[in-house]
């Protein structure tokens, strides 16, 4: 078996050499001056540690890892308490704090080098495509920011739900009423979680976040479609815009056809039947 070979290594090497040459040239031309943002991005582009694509899989795995750690830590608390002596409030607090940390970590936007490339000017024959890509990148960054804000909202929901739940357990304890089974306890947790969620979901801020996320995602889709259409046109493949145009014309023709059919086959209208006098209407 041969060793795995990276077919891009020669390109990477050439790119690295070019970058080194560029940095050297820049240092000579503007000694002591920091690199402009786009030049810094260029200097890092292609470097193994500065991928222009956010490491989504890495972020996801880190979030999973943190969740399992959180669950394990929470479970470890349980057997340490005496059976009937669990301090529900402190457990709820720990649970809420853990949830908050998890949401924040899992929703953190990946700050990667590619976000710095958004200021690069579009040049040359592929200027239109470059602009579209830049817009997609900008929107993706915006989407991540909004997603992080939403995660923070969910973090608050989790915290407040746990607080409400803890308070309810404490109140039940004071009144001497316990919970007969785990299912009843679970149902109370759901009730509290829904209450906490509802309080956030009805707020303008939450609605604005959802709308922002939806609009951003839709714009990403629209821009991606434009990019695909640019590509399709190169190969004389049909685009959605062209198909839409055909559908639109077809609909118009269909309507005209239905109208003509109706006109041709219209039966003479029967005489309306005499209406019987109605009893006086009543409002209930």
């Amino acid at each position: 078996m041969s060793e795995s070979h990276d077919p891009t290594s020669a390109w990477r090497e050439a790119l690295a050499q070019g970058q080194q040459a560029f940095l050297k040239f820049y240092a000579e031309q503007a000694p002591g001056q920091p690199l402009p943002q786009f030049a810094e991005w260029w200097a890092k582009f292609g470097a193994p540690k500065a991928s222009p694509v956010p490491d989504a899989a890495g972020l996801y795995l880190a979030a999973c890892d943190h969740f399992f750690n959180l669950t394990r830590a929470f479970m470890e608390q349980l057997p340490q308490q005496p059976n009937a002596g669990m301090d529900a409030q402190s457990l709820a607090k720990k649970f809420a704090a853990g949830l908050e940390e998890w949401f924040q970590k899992s929703g953190a936007p990946g700050k990667t080098a590619w976000t710095q490339g958004l200021e690069l000017p579009s040049l040359g024959v592929t200027r239109q495509q470059q602009e579209l890509w830049q817009r997609v990148l900008e929107l993706t960054k915006r989407y991540q920011e909004l997603q992080a804000e939403l995660s923070a909202q969910w973090s608050s929901v989790g915290r407040e739900a746990a607080q409400k739940f803890g308070a309810e357990l404490a109140a039940a304890s004071k009144s001497g009423k316990g919970f007969a089974d785990l299912k009843a306890l679970y149902d109370r947790w759901i009730d509290n979680a829904e209450k906490a969620y509802s309080a956030h979901a009805h707020q303008e801020k939450y609605a604005g976040l959802l709308a922002g996320l939806t609009n951003t995602l839709n714009e990403i889709k629209a821009k991606q479609r434009e990019l695909i259409e640019c590509w399709a046109q190169q190969f004389d493949l049909p685009t959605r815009t062209e198909i839409n145009s055909v559908h639109s014309r077809l609909k118009g023709i269909q309507q005209q056809l239905h109208a003509l059919h109706e006109k041709a086959g219209a039966k003479p209208k029967p005489k309306p039947k005499p209406k019987r006098a109605r009893k006086p209407a009543r409002k209930r």
Binding site: F179, K183, E194, Y197, S198, A207, N218, N244
Partner: protein, 355 residues
Amino acid sequence: MTQLPEPDALARELAEFGRRLGMALPALNGAAGAQVGCSAKHAVFSRDKFTLYRFEPLARPAGLRPVLICYALVNRPYMMDLQEDRSLIRALLKAGLDVYLIDWGYPDGADRFLGLDDYINDYLDRCVQRILDAHDIDSVNLLGVCQGGTFSLCYTALQPDKVKNLITMVAPVDFKTPENLLSKWVQGIDVDLMTRSGNVQGALLNLAFLSLMPFRLTQQKYVGLVGSAGNTPEVENFMRMEKWIFDSPDQAAAAFGEFIRWFYQENRLIRGTLEIGGRKIDLASITQPVLNLYALRDHLVPPSASTALGGCIGSADYSPVGIDTGHIGMYVSGTGLREVPSKIVDWLHSQAAHE
């Protein structure tokens, strides 16, 4: 210190839960093919993606005008005829009613330019006209459900001579009441941008509906299912509901955009500024008898969204009836099935007595 279940009881409960979970999986597997829709019907007319069905009678005719059910574009109409013991349509048939139903079908990319004008002034009107011609009558009883109720109101306002009696069920009229969470969420949505990419996926709407009560709808109901693991009919009921909930047709882009903008964002229906197909919709022009059925615990169409109808229509014969159930419970819950069909049948008989 809080009194939590004793450890022995807890262990027993967890063991029982595990046992039931073990039973639930094969039971679920067995119920995967549970059929939906139980009453015999035949297609009387179809065009493009929609079909008008007529149900086979189950009792001696009650001598009432036919009832045309206009369902919503979101979700499928078989919810009204889910299974024999949970079927509003079956209850109406058993009362001797002649029931027609519009199935809007599954719009695809070719239908993206269908607008509300097409659905209301073309498709709905064609269905009504078919029934009028078939029965040689001048007007039908129209039953509009949810969004279909809103369509029915628009249609009745535009074609008052063709509707004898109007029944609206969980139909939104005022789209901006404070309890309406869905409305709050869509105010900031750029609808043009959303529909630029074509039809709106049913899965997206499902996500929005689930987000209204995420803990109950994505967790609690599945935990609850384990409790009924040994009960095959219950598991089958669950599977039928599950199938219906996630059987969401995509929405024709133009119609969806118009519905969100005109109804949810601009609240044109109740403000009297709505035009469909270039014709103004004036709710005050609805003067026929109206029965307005709404659910008191509706999280999709809050009661306030439906009851606003009373102050807008011109009818002197308006009957609002609140049923103590949720949106879906109107068709499938014990309360819904006990109260809704009888209210409809009694009301139609009472209206017929005045003709």
